[in-house]
Symmetry: C2
Subunit: 246 residues, 2 copies
């Protein structure tokens, strides 16, 4: 079986996330979505509305991962600088895109299609449109970079529009085992199980609730058979530790 | 007035955030906390539990910002590789730290201070401890990098422990103005106000609720006088737009 791995990075653009004023809602959405369709989200970056920072991040990420997704900064205001930054990253001109122009002109009506709104039709040369069912103003795709809105409802609609065009790999499967013990009580066993099943990734996540520590162990693997074997070994180790320490 | 700007980056380490299984709770906490004490959070990265990725990110960020904070990967299990990665990033040896060893031995008792737990006393050479009031196992600081736990309650306690040691700058002040209009209706005015007050940063954040678009405009500035002048100009522009379009 060929194990084709498709990777992605997500670049969140926006001062408001970095100042703590706005809580990001897009990272977990995209992380879960990509995992579900067989794409591994391998890196996330959050950068401010500063052209150099966007250019640097886009160029680093697009060279390293199969796909890059961005959110934020594609609206009509002066602080929406993502399209210009992407054009600079790809070293291509930016200008009014006739397809985006027509979509927006039809939507607003010629008399209400102000200069500010026309700004949303400015795209880097060589872009394809990403449909926006919520508020029309499109996102765009250039090479492996998908540029989307930051408003969660619009971002999610754009991800839905993009998903069918993406190459996907074998889905990463996972299984969670809860242990009512601090992770140090099962750490040695988990290390040995990880060595025995190197094609899995075993994560151990300590949790504390009202001062009581427990652990969630998550086994991840692309093969269901190996996932089941590994999970059974973890479950057995947890049972032994419970007998010993509870 | 000297405007001392102190910057920071936050590196979140953990497969569980990237797979969407766990929702990050630390980014917004740290973003708000740093803003409050006069440190600008300028970048966030989320990377998986992969040594090379951690090393690369730590080295890029510590060269660029006043401070780096990390969360995750400092527990007792095989997937806790942050301390080793930090040692590699700084090219220093890692070994049992006598101070951390004693703290943990006193806490667990010699008979329960297992090898797995001793793993949490392994620190890069040259580190200082960061106190952990919640579960004792310390974080650590090496040069400008602060390495903290991923469990939110512990991470927050560590931030509290670290904060008094940090150099802080003039606090970034902000004021939000709500406009019951889509942002394209005030975009031109906002652009002009931004040009008139270049020392501010004016952000425009579209929101949609039940299909109705509104905008939150956030003015940020380190001078209270300029903040008030700029906010007044924005408020006036919003009132004019309301008269015109509502």
């Amino acid at each position: 079986m060929t194990e084709k791995v498709i990777t992605a990075a997500f670049l969140v653009i926006g001062d408001e996330i970095l100042s703590g004023r706005t809580k990001d809602k897009n990272i977990r959405f995209l992380a879960s979505y990509l995992t579900e369709i067989g794409i591994d989200l391998n890196e996330v970056r959050i950068v401010p509305d500063v052209q150099d920072k966007i250019v640097e991040a886009v160029n680093a990420l697009r060279a390293e991962y199969t796909y890059v997704f961005t959110s934020g900064g594609i609206g009509p205001t002066h602080d929406d600088i993502t399209a210009d930054a992407i054009a600079k990253a790809f070293n291509v001109p930016i200008g009014l895109d006739p397809r985006a122009f027509k979509l927006l002109e039809d939507h607003y009506g010629a008399e209400n299609f102000t200069q500010a709104r026309q700004r949303m039709a400015r795209l880097p040369e060589g872009s394809d449109l990403i449909e926006n069912k919520v508020s029309i103003a499109p996102g765009f795709k250039i090479e492996n970079v998908h540029v989307m809105a930051g408003v969660p409802a619009i971002m999610q609609a754009m991800v839905d529009a993009v998903a069918p065009t993406l190459d996907t790999g074998l889905k990463m499967l996972s299984k969670a085992i809860d242990a009512p013990l601090p992770e140090s009580r099962i750490a040695t066993d988990l290390g040995e199980i990880q060595k025995k099943f190197p094609e899995t990734s075993i994560g151990s996540y300590p949790q504390s609730k009202d001062g009581v520590f427990s652990t969630q162990i998550v086994v991840r693997c692309r093969s269901n058979v190996v996932l089941e074997q590994t999970s059974a070994a973890v479950q057995a180790a947890v049972e032994t530790a419970k007998t010993k320490y509870l």
